[in-house]
Structures are given as structure tokens and as C-alpha cells.
Symmetry: none
Subunit: 212 residues, 4 copies
């Protein structure tokens, strides 16, 4: 992210080494972040997992704050990339495509990056600084979903207040890791599919509406 951005000659061996180390650190930090939460992540634990000293982390990140922020960015990038792949790979009705996105997001959030949900939930207890950054990062993610939703609305397939439904979708989707915690992997897949199906209803008009 730093060295690659340079426009100069081929990145020196030392620069590549540094980038690899940065990636390692980010990965370890993301792990700790997932397991212990924002407030539970200590530099000591991150360093321990890398067989490094806490002090050494400061060669790569000027502060804990920057490390966490970089983690968020990495997670967001990963998520958005995967989602964009998903979005690009499918065709069909808006509902079908939205369903795929939801399932992809659940997959990530449940199986690989339970901490990722925090990024999208804007946790109330994070310092304002991080909330701002994560809000910014979320916009892109949001847009992937919203473009499908808007399409569905335009085509008449969906019938909703976009903001309202999107918020409900996000709230439910990102709470899933809490719900699933500790379940067996098999169950998780079944459940995730059911959850996704149910969430689609937020966008579809109900058969008999008592509150349309």
C-alpha cells in the first residue's frame, strides 16, 4: 500500500520484504480483532502471534490507532472485492442477485471474519475516529448492495423505501455472527441460507398486506 504506490523503479527487495511484513501484521491484528474485539486487542498479543516485540510493531505502524484503521481498510477491501466478484458473476432477477450478495456477505461474516460485522455496524462503543472511518469505508460496500436494490425498485420487482430496507438488512445481517457463535459448521450453512431467504422478504411486497 505504501511501496506499491510509488511510481519509481521496481520496488527494492527490502521494500517487498517490508510490505510482506506489513501484511503479516495486518493479518495477525485482524485475527486478534476478531477474537477479542476492538477493546480487547492489545499490541502485546498481536506481537506475540508474530514472534515479535510490541516495540517492533512501531516500525510499521506509528500507533495502535493506525494499525486498527489499516485493519479496517483491509477488511473492507477484502469484503468489497469479494462482493463485487459475486455481483459481477450473477445474472437473473434483482431478487436472485440480491440473494447472492446476502449469502456472500453472510458467508464472509460468519465463516471468515466475524469481526468484519463490526465494520458495518458502526459499533456504538468505538471512538468517534473509527466510526467516521468505518462509515466512509462502508459507503462502497453499501453501494454494491444498493445498486441491485435500486434496480429492483426501478423494475418494480422490489417495493420498498430503500433506506429503511437497507438498514434493516444490514442490522440483521451483521448480527448473525453473534447468533451463530458456537454452532456447528453444518448447521451454519443451512441457517445462513434460511436467513438470506427471509431477509429477501424485506424487499418484496407481502402477499396480503395489512400495513401496505
Amino acid at each position: 500500500m505504501t511501496a506499491e504506490a510509488r511510481s519509481g523503479p521496481a520496488p527494492s527487495r527490502v521494500a517487498r520484504r517490508r510490505d510482506r511484513k506489513v501484511a503479516d501484521i495486518l493479518s495477525a491484528a485482524a485475527d486478534v480483532l476478531s477474537e477479542r474485539g476492538f477493546h480487547g486487542m492489545s499490541l502485546d498479543e498481536v506481537a506475540d502471534r508474530l514472534d515479535l516485540t510490541k516495540a517492533s510493531l512501531y516500525h510499521y505502524f506509528p500507533s495502535r490507532e493506525e494499525l486498527v484503521s489499516a485493519c479496517l481498510e483491509t477488511l473492507a477491501t477484502t469484503a468489497n472485492e469479494r462482493l463485487r466478484q459475486t455481483a459481477g458473476a450473477v445474472s437473473g432477477t434483482a431478487a436472485e442477485r440480491l440473494g447472492m450478495l446476502i449469502r456472500a456477505q453472510l458467508d464472509m461474516v460468519v465463516r471468515e471474519y466475524p469481526q468484519m460485522a463490526r465494520l458495518f455496524l458502526q459499533p456504538l462503543d468505538w471512538p468517534e475516529l473509527y466510526r467516521q472511518r468505518s462509515r466512509a469505508l462502508r459507503v462502497e460496500h453499501d453501494e454494491i448492495f444498493r445498486s441491485v436494490v435500486r434496480e429492483g425498485i426501478r423494475s418494480g420487482e422490489f417495493n420498498v423505501d430503500e433506506d429503511v430496507a437497507m438498514h434493516n438488512l444490514y442490522g440483521a445481517m451483521n448480527n448473525v455472527p453473534v447468533w451463530f457463535r458456537g454452532r456447528r459448521k453444518k448447521d451454519v450453512d443451512d441457517m445462513a441460507a434460511k436467513v438470506a431467504d427471509n431477509l429477501l422478504r424485506l424487499f418484496l411486497p407481502p402477499a396480503s398486506s395489512s400495513s401496505a
Copy 2:
């Protein structure tokens, strides 16, 4: 030991004072808890807001842990009472009654007790101890909603996997205060109504199901 043994009508002036103070502390603690989160809540800050010293809190609660637990219990009790009132006061279709409950919950969560949402969201990074307690406290709350949902399912009005829909409902509902943060009160009411309507869809069969 003496006052508490009395049959009730005369809780000595001192006891009333103490109760009021306990309530004040719980309120302040709940505020801090909701603003800073579990790990961010320090006894110093709670005490500061009450013009007290940290040490003074220990006259009312034997430990930080007990204080937090008492907050959870108080909030849960408040919420369950209000919901039960709501549930008892309405008649109509299951959808109508569920709608009322959702609106009641949103009302509380958005207007009066934004802290309350935390109780139902079980943040991933709280110590297991508290997650257990809050899970236990939530059961009662959950049951009020579920009884209406089950009724709707039995009557054929609703058509869902109860667990799946309930979880989605909770996730979305309790994320609302995050979403609404900083909005004007007028908007909030409108929004809440729309959110409630949209959430009802989770339980109603969609007009045309494009997902098997």
C-alpha cells in the same frame, strides 16, 4: 436489615434516599455504558457524572461487575414491563399486534433507552459472564414477541421459520439507534413507523417468491 424487614409502607427516609441514589447511579452507568461500551465504561466517568468519587460508588455496588449487571437487569425489567403492557393492551390480527410490539420496542430503544439495544445485541467482545446474564434476561423479552409470532404462524397469517425471522427482527430492531443517532426527533417518528412496517414483512409470505 432493619428497614428491609418491614412490611413495606414505611421505607425509612434513609432507605428511600439510598434507593434514589442507586437509581441515579444505574442511570448514569447505563448512559456511559451506551456511549462508551462495556470496556470503555470507567467507574471514574460514572462517578464524575454524578459529582461523586469512584470510591463512593462502592457504597452502593460491591464491584464494577455488579454495577454493570444491575444495569442490564434494570433495563431488561423496564423493557419487559413496557412490552407486556403493550402486548396486553392490543387486539387484532397477529400482524397488527406484532406491529405494535415492534413499534413499542423501537420507541424505547430510540427515544428513551438507547443503551437498551446493547442488552439485546450481546456484543461479541463482552466477557462471557455478561453474555450469559444478558442472554438469560433476554429470554423473557423474547418470549413476548415469540408468543405473538407463534400465534400468527398457527393461524396461517405468518409463514416463517420462527427462529430465523426472530433473529433478523432483533438484529434490525436493535441496530436502529445506531442508524438514528443524531437525527431530528420529528424524522425519527416517521422513520420508526416505516421501519416497523418493513420489518413485518419478515413474517408475511411474499407476493411472488423468486427464491425457493
Copy 3:
């Protein structure tokens, strides 16, 4: 100690009441002192055992320090009284009389006031203030023993450096409660007799002296 010292008319009922309370407090404090040691004694625990509040203790003693000092004085008075009774009641050789005193002291120290030993040991870790007081209090106690010892020396029955033997005697005697801790009462009596006999040797010339 305060009221009784007054030269005025019969101590009013209120004064007697106060004295009784002071005695109760001293007794409770001495108990805690024995069980928890000087540093482990807290006003809270003393008050608890009396069904009082910590604050109430301050009606009778101006500070923790004064309470502890009063305890020491009480213990010393008790010990000295008992020893003087013993000393007055016996006749016989110096060795016989010293043996009685030792047994009396062991009896007190082991059975009734394990904390009393601290008074005579001048614990290294007590604040200087208390060490001075306890040293003063010990003089009287010491003198009871020494008068018998000096007599034995004068009569030729004993053959020792008074200071040296006295110190060794005190050190050994007051360490007994540590040694006996947790033993059964029966054993304690047997042991105490043996200990006393052995300690007498400090004063008697050895049969074959390789170091006289």
C-alpha cells in the same frame, strides 16, 4: 480506664455503659488482631463482629492507632496480672518458680492470646510507634521473669548471662504459637510442658560443658 480513673462520685450509668462498650470493642479488636495480624485487622471487621458501624468505633477511639495501642495495653495488663499471680503463688527453687512462669506464659500465648506473642516479639514490621509502646509495656513483664532469674543467679542455682538467656527464652517462647498452630489441644498441653522443661536448660549449667 477513663471513667474508673475519675475521682468524682459514683460513675454514672452512662459512664459504666460506655466502659462496657469500650471493653467489648477491645475484646473484639484483640480477637481480630490475633486472627489477622496487625496489618490484617481492619476497622470494618472489628465493627462487624460487634454489630456496629465502622463510624461508631470513632466514638470510643479517636483512631485506629489508638485502638491498637489500647489492645496492646490490655493484653499486657492481662498477661502481667496473670504472671504476677503465678509468681506470688509458688515457692521452691528458682528453677521450679521459673518453670511455673514459663508454663503460665506458654499457656496464655498458646491457648488464649496467640496475638500476645507479638507484643513480646517486637515485630519488625510494626510501625516504630507501636514498637516503642510495646517495648515499654514489656518491661514490666520482663521484670517478673528477671527477678526470679536474678535470684537463681544470686543463689548459684543458675549460671548464665542474664540478658542472653532472657532473650533466648523470649524468642523461643513467643515463637511457640507459630509452631503449634493447628495442632490438637491435647497435644498442645504435652508439648508445652516439654518446651518449658527444655527452656529451663538455658539457665542451668550443662552436665558436661564443652563450651563453658
Copy 4:
């Protein structure tokens, strides 16, 4: 992890530095421990004497508890080593050899390690945990003395109940630093010799026993 794995001859400069610091800390802690006692020893005071911050101590010891334990172990090791040297170096009657041991112990306790006495006195008010440890550590020390004593008993030179005499010996011996506190060095040597001689009497049969 790296340096410790080496076979010994080259404990990197940094390791040596650390060891020296650990030794310094242990020394300072032992001092404070002996002056203020277990409960009176604060990490702040230990740190102060080393021109360190309390927090820095945690680089070397994970907790106050471990620091105290390490002190006990260090003192015990030192004492036992010295005594074993003494025991190995002397010949002669049991009384002569026991006399040497007593003098050696007094020498250490009075001149170099006044803290050491605490290790052997097992103060009543230390938490059970430490009393257990120090009791265990004392066993070895005890055994050095007892082997000589048992030999003297076997050969008929001594005539005592081993346990009783040993306890009296320990009580008297370890109380010496309290007694000597503040005396001039010259006097101390004379005194110590007299104390040792007197203590030997505990093991020798008295010339005329007036106590059955």
C-alpha cells in the same frame, strides 16, 4: 528463549544485565520486606529505592506475589548454601559442630540478611500461600541442623526431644536480629558468641535437673 538455550558460557550482555537487575530488585525487595513486613511492602517503595517506576518492576516479575516468592527462595538458597559449607567444613563433637552452625546462622541473620529471619519465623499474618512456601523452603535448612542434632542424640552426647529443642533453637535464633537492632558491630560479635553458647545448652543435659 534464544540466550537461555545456549550452553552457558556466553549469556549475552543483555542477559547478564537483566540478571543483575533482577538481583538488584530482589535485594531491594528483601530490604523493604524486612523493614516493613509483608503487608507493609509496597511495589512503589521497592521501585523508589531502585530509582524505577512501579510499572518497570513488571518487566522482571509478573506480580507482587512472584516477587515476594522469589525473595523467599533467594534467601533460602543463600542460607542453605552457606550452612552446608559450614557443616561440611567442621569436625569434632556434635556440640562443637552444632555450635558452628548456630554461629553461622547468627552471623548471617545478624550481619548480612536481617530479612532472613522472617523466612524462618513464618509470621502469623502472612497469607497461607506464603507460609506454605516458606515452610517448604525451610525444610532443607532445618535438615542441616537436625542431622547434627540426631547424631549427637545417637552418640548420647545430646539428650533432648529433637522437635522441642529444634523449635526453641529456631525461635531464639531468629529473634536475635530484633534484639540486636541498633547495637554497635563490636558488641554484636561478642553477643552472638554468648547467644550461641547459651543455645547449645538446649541440647545438653543439665548438671542437676530440678524439673522431672
